[in-house]
Structure formats: structure tokens, C-alpha cells
Amino acid sequence: MKKVAVVGYGNTKFTKDELPIESLLLESTKQVFDTTKNLSQDLIDGVIVSTNDNSKYLGAILSELSGIKPKISHTVEHLCSSGSSAVISGFSYIASGLADTVLVTGADKIGNPGQILEWDKSRGEYDHPIYWASMFTKAHKRQFSTTDEELAIVSAKNHKQAMDNPNAYSHKPYTISEIMNSKNVTEDLRILDCSYSCSGSSSILLTSEENVKRFTDEPIWISGIGQKTNSASFTKNELTTLSSTVTAANNAYKMAKITPQEIDTAEIHDAFSVCELMAVEDLSLTEKNTGAMYVRNLFNTEDRKINPRGGLIGAGHPLGATGIAQIVEITQQLQNKAKNRQVSNAKRGLTHNMSAAATSSTVLVLES
């Protein structure tokens, strides 16, 4: 299996604007071309698009708009973690030798249809994500005595960190009490504990080891991949553990031959505050039942280790772009190019993404 590295990237600002999906895809792709040295269209032989948009044939459309005639091109959809899944497709084409250099671009529009899984009849009329998030939150409170303040700290931290991310949807800091007193969406969920669906696009350029030097002196290697799908129906889930995340993380660590303690920074899927508390535990970044204390400590010491770009809560959540935006952030961190967001001495990073209430999860390990 060939080694695969991230050698270029692009990001749009995440906004509430209604923009055509093709324009979004092209915008972050243009940035890859603007910022990657020696890149020309003929060097790209794979174009993978990730989106929940209903438009068809977007791999070919983005290729044509970018003047690329790739060998391989198609779209990947896997709800919230479409972007991570598209990166794994790109990785696999290169690792197997089917392609040399692959552009992976994800985008979604603010009102994209990926937020509700209509197939899941077990949710009845409670099909919006706020309902599964309320079940997770209530169960977490019940089992671990988690408080509203501990949940609010996640949001306060991620909003604060997003202030230094020029592409983030939110550039407003919130105090813990402002978050705790924000509108009740349900008894267990405040509006500021929720991420927002946004319009936005992110791209990365992947290539094999023998091509790396052409594009960059600072390749970031994808050294571990783990994925797990347990079901599509939310109600089959355990409520206090993201069990698909546990399996995906263990597989990613095993492939990268590292322990969780060797992770210096991580972008994790905080669709709702409770998800970050669960994820830091289920990724083994801290022990079970210490997630709230762990995150409080990060917040109090202004340690940006978790969700340095602001996570989904701070940066916004354009579903198809999110998994790729996470990788762009970790790439910048490991290249020591994250400016005000920089986590000092970051050598290894992780991205964690999940779909439909963690019925499936994806974990990637990256190394400089």
C-alpha cells in the first residue's frame, strides 16, 4: 500500500448565504490551485466530491469547471461524515495505485437535505437531530451527573476558539452563563449547545509519496484510518457511549501504530455539546466519565488541543465540507501554520466525524 499525504488545501468561509453548490465546490478548489506550487490540471487524476446536495454528477461538473479530465471522478454521500468518507476514497485510490493525485472537495448549502434521515422510521415524528441530541444529553446527565454548566463549557470553548478562525460561521464569544441561559430548544438542549447547518466548502489535495516533493516540503501523512457503521436507525444506539467511535478510533490508532496519548490535537464532531464530552472519552483522549473535567480544564487553561478551529459549534457545519475542513485544520496545525490557533509543537493529529447520531463514525490520524 502506497503512503498518502495531504499536499494542498482550500477553504471557503462558512456562511448563511444561499449559494449554488457548484460555486461553493469551485471556490475551495480554486484556492487549492492558488496555493499549491507546481499544480496543474493534468496532474490530477482523481476528483471526488462529497455532499448531501440533491444535484447529480457533481464530480464531473467540478472537474469540467476546473479544467480537469480525471481518470476517476464521483460523488460520496454519507450524511454528516460524507467528507471523511470521500477522503478515505481518495486515499484508497492512491494507496492502491489506481490514481496518483486526487482532489477531494466537499460542500453543502445551508438548507441541505442531509440533516434528516427520512428512512429512519423509528424516530417517528421526532426526526430532527435535536431529538437524538436531547436523548444523548439526558442519558449523559443521568449516568454521569453531567451539569448544564459542563455542557455550556464545550460551547463557550469552541465559540471562543472559532474567533481565531477566519472561515468560521461564528465570531462571537459567549460566556458560560449566556449559553446556559440561551433559548431552550428542549429541556436538555440550549440553542447555543447546537451546531448550525451552513453553506461552505473545503478541499484537500492528496498524492502518493513519490509525487509529494513536487507540491510541498511539508506533507502531512494520513497514517491511520478507522471506520465503523453499527446501524442506520438512531434508536438502536447506546445513549452514553458513541460505540462506533470507539471501534473506529481503535482501528485508526492501530493502523497508525500509536496510542491515544500521542495525539497532540484533534478536530472532533461536536454537533451538540454532549457529543464532545462523549467523543473525548470514546476516542480514549481521557478516561470514561472524565470528559467534562477534561474539557473544563482545556477551557480554563486556554488549551486549544480539542477543536482548535472551533469545531462544528463554532465553525458551523456544512455537512459535506465538515470532514474535509477538519483535515485542513489538522494539516495547518501540523505544518505550524495555524497562526493564532496554533497548538504548540503539534506532531500528530486526529479528526473524528460521525453520521446520524453516531450510528457510524470515522477517525483519521495525521502526522507530519
Binding site: K121, S122, R123, M135
Partner: protein, 110 residues
């Protein structure tokens, strides 16, 4: 509409069950997810157990489990402080118009 939805529209909460290995096939499907044999359809027991619950405005909603396997979300006719996980509820109504609707009441009202 599939069989599950047609029955739900008629007010019947049904599940698929394997004709061969007798496992409950949930969510409803045309074939057994274990042995891929044909399924039969039957009514689900009307007594379930609360798995977890929360509240949106005055609506209490919960995950209820039936027959140790079948879990659905629905509306609970109770004050939230009266109910907790593990408690038995009764399915009082189900419907289908575009979306499923499940309605529960507490079995032993005090």
C-alpha cells in the same frame, strides 16, 4: 407505502418477524436480516418500557422499547417528572400521515 406504513395508517403497530428463524426483524424489512428468509407481519405487544425521555415545550417525548428489541420515539402523555427510564408504558395510538406517530401513556398512573 410499505406494509408497516399501511398497517400504521390503519392504527396497527406491526413488526416483521422471520418465518424461518423467528427473530424479530426490526426496523421493518422484507427479509430477515439474519437468514434472509421471508418475513411475516404481526402486531407488536402494546406494553413497552421507557428507555429515555425529554421534553420540548409541553410535549414529553421518549424512546420506548417493545419486546426487548423494537425501539421507537413517540409522545408520552404525562408530566416529565412522573416518568423515568424502565417504567412501563402502553401504546395508546399510532398513525401514519407522511411521518409515523406513536403515542404512549403511563401504565400505572398514581
Amino acid at each position: 407505502m410499505n406494509k408497516f406504513e399501511t398497517e400504521l395508517k390503519a392504527g396497527n403497530f406491526v413488526t416483521s418477524e422471520c418465518s424461518h428463524c423467528k427473530k424479530i426483524v426490526w426496523p421493518p424489512s422484507d427479509y430477515c436480516d439474519y437468514c434472509f428468509k421471508e418475513v411475516n407481519w404481526r402486531k407488536v405487544s402494546e406494553n413497552g418500557t421507557i428507555v429515555e425521555l425529554s421534553r420540548k415545550e409541553n410535549d414529553v417525548f421518549c424512546i420506548t422499547e417493545f419486546e426487548n428489541k423494537i425501539r421507537v420515539m413517540g409522545k408520552l402523555d404525562a408530566e416529565i417528572h412522573m416518568a423515568k427510564p424502565g417504567q412501563t408504558v402502553k401504546l395508546t395510538k399510532c398513525l401514519f400521515n407522511d411521518k409515523n406517530g406513536f403515542f404512549f401513556s403511563l401504565e400505572n398512573k398514581q
